[in-house]
């Protein structure tokens, strides 16, 4: 099977992210490979181990290729970085057009990515790429089996009140959710090797795309700090008065019960 996995290097959940100005953020230099993307890499590798074939990791990023190296160290065969000054500040739809243009002439059976990148938390790129390529997609899968002969996937997806099973013809795109697998920890030796691995670099011109092809549909007008909660009210009475006071506050002050 030919499998492509979209990956992204994002600020670690522990990293400090603050608003610097309306148009700028201050981001602590602590990055990791988006957790859901690692799940997607793992899912791709598991399928490859079963059916043979190739896993290629892809990122659109002008600066960071660490997610690609993470993919290689886990066992991906190839890595591609799409980078171009014109993609600076591009929206998710522009990234989707770019990725789908890269893929449209390639023979692929399956595209995987995280259910959302842990920076913009948008979850747009995956489904939007599927639309551009005219293939089915399923969002947030927690189970995956592939029948390579029949070119069909059996998928489990989480919905609000339970779990839904679906069948889906391949090629298809799935976005991956926690629960699908536990991503492997790469061996140190493979991490070293991945540091030296060749990464193929692609720009917009080589894809036949111009600036107008990556014009945004949505734009960040302004960054704002998160709404602040008033300081906590600690209920300092002894038990059981504290419980009575809490109930009273929730009913009379917060008015939520």
């Amino acid at each position: 099977m030919e499998i492509y996995v979209f990956v992204k290097q994002v600020p670690d959940p522990e990293a400090i992210v603050k608003v610097k100005s309306d148009s700028e953020l201050e981001i602590e230099n602590k990055y990791f490979t988006s957790f859901f993307d690692e799940i997607a890499i793992e899912a791709g590798l598991k399928l490859k181990e079963k059916t043979g074939g190739k896993v290629t990791v892809l990122t659109v990023d002008n600066r960071r290729v660490d997610a690609l190296r993470r993919g290689i160290s886990m066992g991906a065969d190839d890595a591609v970085q799409i980078a171009d000054p014109a993609l600076e500040g591009a929206d998710q739809f522009a990234l989707a057009r770019t990725l789908s243009t890269y893929l449209k002439d390639k023979p692929f059976d399956l595209i995987l990515t995280g259910r959302q990148a842990m920076d913009d938390d948008a979850g747009i790129v995956g489904p939007a790429v599927a639309e551009c390529l005219g293939i089915p997609h399923i969002h947030s899968i927690i189970g995956l089996e592939v029948d390579d002969q029949k070119k069909e996937a059996k998928v489990l997806r989480e919905v609000e009140n339970g779990k839904e099973s679906l069948t889906c013809p391949l090629p298809a795109l799935f976005t991956c959710q926690k629960g699908l697998n536990a991503p492997r920890i790469p061996l140190v030796m493979n991490v070293m090797k991945a540091m030296k691995a060749q990464i193929k670099k692609v720009d917009l011109a080589s894809l036949g795309l111009s600036l107008s092809d990556v014009s945004p549909y949505i734009k960040i007008e302004k960054y704002v700090p998160p709404p602040k909660r008033p300081p906590v009210k600690m209920i300092k009475e002894d038990f059981p008065e504290n419980v009575k006071t809490l109930v009273k506050l929730l009913r009379e002050e917060a008015k939520v019960i």
Partner: protein
């Protein structure tokens, strides 16, 4: 060009989800500024009850009745909604940030080549009809105000409780039946089964009240007291990554960065120290209560009310106190 504000009204077992009423209420507020009409989109079969409940909340209800809409797949929904949008050219399309919304909207936006703001916590409408969507980034460490290109419709999915349901919306919707002939070749995915989650509780993303415990609960069987408390409050039970990774609780109930973002009216955390992963998942809850033995636990920095105390003492007492208070009403 109709200039209408549309809301995709999701429903389950014939009942329209609360988020649809919240979004229609927002639409009604916007229309007071802009004079636009507000319309609900209803897809499924046997929709009479659902349509009836929506009638006071919209000027129009577009009803698409076909068996291929149940259960949801993006294949059937996308084809039908896209053609209706092309016909009527609404200016805005809103939906809940639900499993359906997150599956359908990004693809639909790409299909229509229009802007879409996902998982919003607020929407504002200017006098000039300019829509601004507010959404969390980096798990809620910062927020962004998003503007849209000129393309129509401007699309957004919105979290629960971003808007209040209008108590007297005062509309009387006209039902507009829409014939939907779906090319069967477009229906590629097939839903083959459904396993309903145990218990009749709402998902933690949908519940108005969520009660959660973390590692401080010490053993999986102790969740019984959290469930009892949730029962009295008619709430749902959530948890932290730690207990899910221990195998104590199901992944679907995990709150936080690698789990779910909840937007409850009341969130109560017991024995949860407040790791940043967890805090990020509760940022848009209205009122937060924390109980933890450690008076310096981080969770208190993100709470409205706190008790530094023993959950094993407080939870059962709280359940009893609430029972007492509710029974005298």
């Amino acid at each position: 060009m109709s200039n209408e504000i549309w809301v995709l009204a999701e429903h389950r077992e014939g009942k329209v989800k609360k988020i649809a009423f919240e979004l229609l209420s927002a639409g009604i507020e916007f229309s007071k500024k802009t004079g636009q009409e507000v319309a609900a989109l209803l897809l499924g079969s046997g929709l009479e009850e659902a349509a009836k409940s929506l009638t006071p909340f919209a000027d129009k209800i577009y009803v698409m009745d076909a068996p291929s809409f149940t259960p949801y797949t993006s294949d059937a929904y996308l084809a039908s909604i896209a053609s209706l949008i092309k016909e009527h050219q609404p200016s805005i399309l809103l939906g809940g940030a639900t499993s359906t919304g997150k599956d359908l909207f990004p693809r639909l936006a790409m299909h229509l080549q229009t802007g879409y703001a996902p998982d919003c916590t607020g929407l504002t409408m200017g006098e000039d009809g300019k829509l601004i969507a507010r959404r969390p980034l980096f798990g809620g460490k910062v927020f962004a105000e998003m503007a849209f290109s000129e393309a129509r419709p401007r699309m957004a999915t919105v979290r629960n409780n971003a808007f209040l349901v209008n108590e007297s919306p005062g509309k009387s919707a006209k039902i507009v039946p829409v014939s939907s002939q779906i090319d069967p070749s477009l229906l590629k995915k097939k839903v083959t089964g459904f396993e309903k989650a145990a218990g009749a509780k709402l998902d933690i993303t949908e519940a108005d009240i969520v009660v959660a415990a973390g590692r401080g609960i010490k053993a999986p069987e102790n969740f019984k007291m959290i469930e009892d408390l949730a029962e009295v409050l008619n709430g749902s039970v959530g948890t932290t990554r730690a207990t899910v990774d221990e195998g104590w609780r199901d992944l679907k109930d995990q709150i936080g960065k690698s789990g779910k973002n909840i937007s409850a009216k009341l969130y109560m955390a017991f024995g949860i120290s407040g790791a940043i992963h967890h805090i990020l998942g509760i940022g848009t809850c209205k009122t937060v209560v924390a109980v933890d033995t450690d008076p310096n636990a981080l969770i208190f920095n993100y709470s409205d009310y706190g008790i530094a105390g023993d959950l094993f003492q407080i939870v059962p007492a709280l359940t009893e106190e609430l029972k007492k208070v509710f029974s005298t009403e």
